[in-house]
Symmetry: C2
Subunit: 505 residues, 2 copies
């Protein structure tokens, strides 16, 4: 019996050894295959003999003449992913550093909180966006955070992400770059309000959506248990959304749709206790056409969302307090009041744009250093360009990623791909942003489509079922891979036929 | 503007109040609807005016003459869910108590760890299995653990599950039953080996599969980071499975399939470091036909799984130690060595069967008490019946659930549904278990189908592609709801076309 033979072999190996017997996963079956195969290519200075990762920095050294120049991309958001997709991997090796191995299709994230879409349908792994990363010997994805940058030495410092799942501590390493693209995104703003980080949930990552879903379902079930007072039941099932931008409005719309369609049927004991309140200091959807805003206000109110104009002063574990002293008890608090620069972006030794973003010129280069570019929510034009800061939109990030991929490819083809190799390169067409319009869904087969190029510009502004149809079609064709396009369509179809899934896993 | 009117209304309400202004979710828009609708039916002794859940026990009191008798089901595994599905809700109200609101389709759970199937495709919410639970005024699902039982008073004590997600502490409540069904399942056995609970992952619940998947993907990515020694890389990517029953074998097969098909393409830098070892003290798949066992051994070895016969003595954070002193370093450790009674089952004041299970007679009644039944992995025949303990299989649990549903329906129709109402009922056809055979998949389009009724019986025993086809078809038709049948088929199809999803979310 082959299995028994293996066992005997293992035992024999173990017995013949004089040192503590260790079952080495390579010891027997694969030994021959190993010696006949080339050693895996790693550009570490020298393979370390220590059993634990070395405490000294190791990493990827500068690229050598025979190798492709290396583009290091920090971040896996819209900007970084669009860039990686567009990079010519015949010219460059691509190394991506990010704490997540996927891109999130943010416009559809709100739909995953209530089960309209599945989490995996809106997440795209990097390897599917840029296959070279999992195949080319010199291209890598590192599940790590960038923790430092030395633009003079063309070096980034990184630290692995271990999530506490591993008994190992995180370790540090360095990567030399020929070109560096900073696409670190932004972090949600809290305006320094106490308790937001602790008690509210943001809606930027898949794990946020998972947390919202788990909490919503937990509250629905807890409120049904005997011994809960009427007041407590109302608190548990009061969902409060702070921030009336597209994310806040879309989440409120999805939630009210979930309540009207699914909660009434599946949690019929508590269906009259659940409510949604959307709190906004100014106007909801302020970037949209006036008529569309009125339409949205009407639709949301009609579907049971209460719109409150107020400023949050303080956030406690079970209630928020507004500026006028009003107390709002809540069971679920979702915070989406816009974004600002992250502490890492603040700490980088680079010129800044207004608002604390990484400053860039018309070609998205960071001035005063060589070979560093920045795109997406973390970057902004330096004042000397005379250009305004672009809004923190997926649309902007994606356009910048595409532009920069083309620029880097052109530079590479012209022989300027190496570190300090583009000093003589003549930069021509600068990045120009043209707004294509905005969309937002309100749930219940209603959406807004605003195709004007600016707030006061002219153009098509639609609301209602047609918009909803345009909204769905537009996103379905834009979801990056065929796999996810297929799953989004299937999710929508099954939600329509069977309702939303309420399993709490 | 409707929205602004709402705001004014809210502000007015707030101003007119003299006590601290509280934004009551019911205060205005829904007040009229509330007063015109009947109050939700709750059989609590009296609605508590306290804002926090009362510290005193409250709960569902004994059913009154005009109401349906109440069946309380503890657990949402195969046994409990099959029972609830079969109960006639025109006769009974159903109250289910469980820490999870869904049933797990366990035979397909191993496939979710590597992304062949999605987690939600193998989880079925209770409301879909027995819709009355979410609709009928007297039927409930409580997300709680049973913590005590008083068979004389026909009462169970429960405590809510809050997962630490809620600032509220768990609270206790009581439920009176007319009929009680104990279907609490079993817990994985560790044989008292140190470190198993701490370092190994079981494979019984969806969150186990999620943890395995997250850890596997984390290790794959960590091992690719610069600075990791060769030895550490081999350790991180050594997946060890302890226990050669169907779960362990199926998981090993899926894992080797994942390695051969997906890791080679998507983690090409580390593909030669990943290995699977299956450790079993006796024979793998001991309940299967000899020929099938040999076939399985051959197939697993061929697909790269190393089979080791050994007994685990100790489990450390990064290695396990076998009885003969061999040390096996691992990055992922999955433990599936069978199940035993849970601490709660041990503590219940009821007669026991051999092995510590809740003792039942031929009609699955717990002897010496009235109206208490037990089914599934937690129950066994008392010695006086002369019947052997049935294996802890989904098949047994499901058959018992179905039998008991029919029995309780018959008793209910005969007017014996109330507490102590079946004393005069003449119990006839006892529960008889007939084994329908076993199946296990080995990955790579190979499976085993053993249709013999006992280990020494005669009958069909098949291995290979045909078996795999039977295996898939059998499970596809058995997945409970149409929604999940559809999703399992879609998942299988997309895995075939696009490969497995490797997003770590």
């Amino acid at each position: 019996m082959a299995w028994f033979r293996s066992l005997i072999q293992v035992s024999a190996t173990a017995r013949s050894a004089t040192k503590p017997r260790i079952l080495d996963p390579f010891s027997y079956t694969l030994l021959s295959r190993f010696s006949s195969e080339p050693a895996p290519i790693h550009e570490t200075p020298a393979p370390s003999p220590a059993p634990q990762p070395p405490t000294q920095y190791s990493g990827l050294g500068p690229t050598k003449p025979g190798e492709k120049p290396r583009v290091v991309v920090l971040g896996t958001g819209w900007a970084g992913c669009r860039l990686m997709k567009g990079l010519d991997t015949d010219i460059y090796d691509v190394v991506c550093v990010s704490p997540r191995n996927h891109m999130v299709f943010t416009p559809l994230l709100a739909s995953t909180c209530v089960g309209t879409l599945e989490f995996r349908s809106v997440a795209e792994p990097i390897g599917r966006i840029q296959p070279a990363i999992s195949r080319e010997p010199g291209s890598y994805f590192f599940l790590s955070n960038c923790v430092g940058l030395d633009p003079d030495k063309h070096l980034v410092q990184c630290e692995t992400v271990t999530d506490g799942a591993e008994p190992l501590k995180p370790w540090k390493f360095e990567i030399s770059y020929d070109k560096l693209v900073i696409a670190l995104g932004a972090k949600p703003t809290t305006f320094g309000i106490q308790g937001v980080e602790e008690h509210a949930i943001f809606l930027r990552e898949v794990y946020h959506a998972q947390e919202i879903r788990r909490k919503l379902l937990l509250n629905l079930m807890l409120s049904d248990v005997p011994g809960v007072s009427e007041e407590e039941k109302s608190r548990l099932l009061h969902c409060v959304v702070v921030g009336g931008g597209p994310t806040g409005v879309e989440f409120s719309g999805e939630l009210s749709d979930f309540i009207q369609r699914d909660v009434r049927q599946r949690y019929s004991h508590v269906k009259n206790y659940i409510h949604v309140t959307l709190i906004e200091a100014n106007e909801i959807l302020s970037s949209f056409d006036d008529r569309l805003r009125h339409y949205a206000t009407k639709q949301l109110t009609k579907s049971g969302v209460r719109l409150v104009r107020g400023i949050v002063k303080d956030v406690k574990a079970q209630k928020i307090i507004l500026n006028d002293g009003t107390e709002v008890p809540y069971g679920l608090l979702v915070w989406s009041t816009g974004v600002g620069p992250s502490p890492l972006v603040n700490s980088l030794p680079l010129p800044k744009a207004p608002g604390g973003r990484v400053g860039v010129d018309e070609w998205l280069r960071v001035p005063s250093v060589q070979d560093v570019y920045s795109i997406g929510d973390c970057s902004g034009f330096v004042e000397s360009t005379g250009k305004p800061t672009l809004p923190a939109l997926a649309q902007v990030a994606e356009r910048q990623g595409k532009y920069l991929a083309n620029l880097l490819n052109t530079i590479g083809k012209a022989g300027g791909g190496r570190a300090n190799g583009a000093k003589e390169y003549k930069f021509e067409d600068p990045f120009v942003y043209k707004h294509l319009g905005s969309m937002a869904t309100l749930g219940r087969y209603k959406a807004l489509v605003d195709l004007r190029q600016s707030k006061d510009g002219k153009g098509l502004a639609l609301a209602g079922f047609t918009s909803w149809f345009i909204w769905r079609s537009a996103y379905l064709t834009r979801v990056l891979s065929w796999r996810n396009r297929f799953y989004v369509a299937i999710n929508w179809a099954t939600t329509f036929v069977f309702g939303r899934d309420i399993t709490r896993i």
